[in-house]
Amino acid sequence: MRFLTTIHKRGLSQIQLAALLMLPALIVIFLITFYPLAQTFLFSLEDYNAKFATARKFVGPANYIKLFLDPDFRAALRQTLFFTVVSVSAEFVLGLLVALVIHRTFPGRGLVRAAVLVPWAIPTVISARMWEWMYNDQFGVINDILVKLHLISAPVPWLGQPATAMWAVIVTDVWKTTPFMALLLLAGLQIIPEELYEAAKIDGAGTWQRFRRVTLPLLRPAILVALIFRTLDAFRVFDVVFVLTRGASGTRTLVVMNQEVFFSFLEFGYGSAISVLVFVFVALFSFLYMRGLGLRLETA
């Protein structure tokens, strides 16, 4: 190739040039993710409180043993799984409905698609505070609406009681992330050839059957991608919980607990053990998903 020889004439081999171009990005990535990740693992084997930085002591798996015996950790794990399963399922069902709606051609579709991006674009912290105000037990509009619809007889402190707090957090998260899910599914819907629907119609398939037999199977890859992304995100939920409840009323998820252990108690050793577990969960999960997807890196 002429391109090759031209570079070659300038005294740099392709490999050298590639190394030169990639080095800055790779150094930053190494320094800020891989190196700290290795350190987190080392911290997790230490008795390390950041308040007394000098008194670090290697303790082996002690933090992990403590973790498995810690009822707080088990509660946080349970709450995280509950949050993840419920919010991702709700987002999937609603996201699919939204995707089917905005896939159809109708006047004003562009505007509707843009509107759907609004919840996604608002920073989580900010939308969570908007919802916090709407959930307010004394002046909140949600209580106002539900009282007017006679669904509740008196205002409810949604965020203040264990029976409703997690659900309130989930509703906020679903509002925020369903659009993202819908867009991923929409991208999948758009590559299904129209002819397949025509053929199914000629063969006498009804709307439901076309959905079951054509849409769903062909949408499978898009569904998997959307689910993997949302599940990983939901498992790491932090912002929305921190703002709405600070982890009170049975909403303390793993990352919320982890952040508290780190920066309220400064227990870097014990906190790191939690972090390592979060990382392992996420890594395992991504690996299994990738396997399921049969994604090949060569295509990258």
């Binding site: 109708f106 674009a121 993997i228 912002d239």
Partner: protein
């Protein structure tokens, strides 16, 4: 609609249902923003009134004034602009160089490098937050702009590299080749040929990085110590927590930062949707 309009005048209930759900969908998407706008223009007396009014009866801008006068909110916005802008610039520069190598050059171990870069996009930020805190403290980078920009850049790079690599691949080889034959260095070819031609890719990646950096919370909460570097999400999350929450001022603050972002999204929706879905397919 064709189906229903011929001989019999059938009422198209399905169509009503469809448009009804579209209207409901749009209403739900906008409602929290509407409610914040509504609250932000009310007087304090009207805010703490039950039942709440759906439109402000006495329009006032006092909440907007108070947001800037009683809180360092102007400073927070400036901080966020610096951090998000810096992150965008740095990610685009580092990302473009790396993407150019991945798209154009042949070298061993490419799959390994791509895999490592994509892997970092799966790292939960909580897993590195504490050693990074220790590192930034040692470097005296806590409570500085670069102490946020550099970590943010790392998280932005996988997506940037991914989007830019696919854009660079679309550009025909011949153009670059011609430039190189004419005596341009590879970096000049990158600057004069590739960058201008991949402008849509740069805009898409830049927008997504900017929005992500603007929204980031955990690192910003941990690595900023006071209002000299505190970004908007942290300021909003900590908005007068100790006492009663000043809902008028808080909703005014949320409206101030949300409206420009919403406009940005409405203008660039096509680019954003393309970038988001491309970013997602990376797996």
């Amino acid at each position: 609609m064709k189906r229903s309009g011929l001989s019999k005048r059938v009422i198209p209930w399905g169509e009503f249902g469809f448009y009804g759900s579209v209207v409901l969908l749009v209403a739900i998407c906008f409602f929290p923003l509407y409610w914040a706008i509504n609250t932000s223009f009310k007087t304090h007396a009207e805010i703490i009134q039950w039942p709440p009014s759906w439109f402000p009866t006495n329009l006032t801008v006092e909440n907007y004034q108070a947001t800037f006068e009683k809180h360092p909110f102007g400073r927070n916005i400036l901080n966020s602009l610096v951090v998000a802008g810096g992150t965008t610039a740095l990610s685009l520069i580092l990302g473009a160089l790396c993407a150019y190598a991945l798209a154009r050059l042949k070298f061993p171990g490419k799959i390994f490098i791509v895999g490592a870069i994509l892997m970092t996009s799966m790292f939960p930020s909580i897993s590195i937050v504490s050693p990074l805190f220790v590192l930034l403290r040692q470097l005296r980078w806590l409570n500085t702009f670069h102490g946020l920009i550099i970590p943010y850049t790392t998280f932005a790079l996988p997506l940037t590299i991914w989007i830019l690599t696919s854009f660079f691949r679309e550009i025909p080889f011949e153009l670059e080749e011609a430039a190189l034959v004419d005596g341009a260095t590879p970096l000049q070819a990158l600057r004069l040929i590739i960058f201008p031609l991949s402008a849509p890719g740069l805009v898409t990646a830049g927008l997504l990085v900017f929005i992500a950096a603007w929204n980031e919370f955990l690192f910003a909460l941990t690595y900023t110590l006071d209002d000299s570097t505190r970004t908007v999400p942290v300021a909003i999350a900590l908005f007068s927590r100790q006492f009663e929450v000043p809902w008028g001022e808080l909703t005014a603050a949320t409206v101030i930062v949300t409206v420009p972002l919403v406009l940005l999204v409405l203008i660039f929706q096509r680019r954003i949707i393309a970038g988001l879905t491309a970013g997602a397919i990376k797996g």
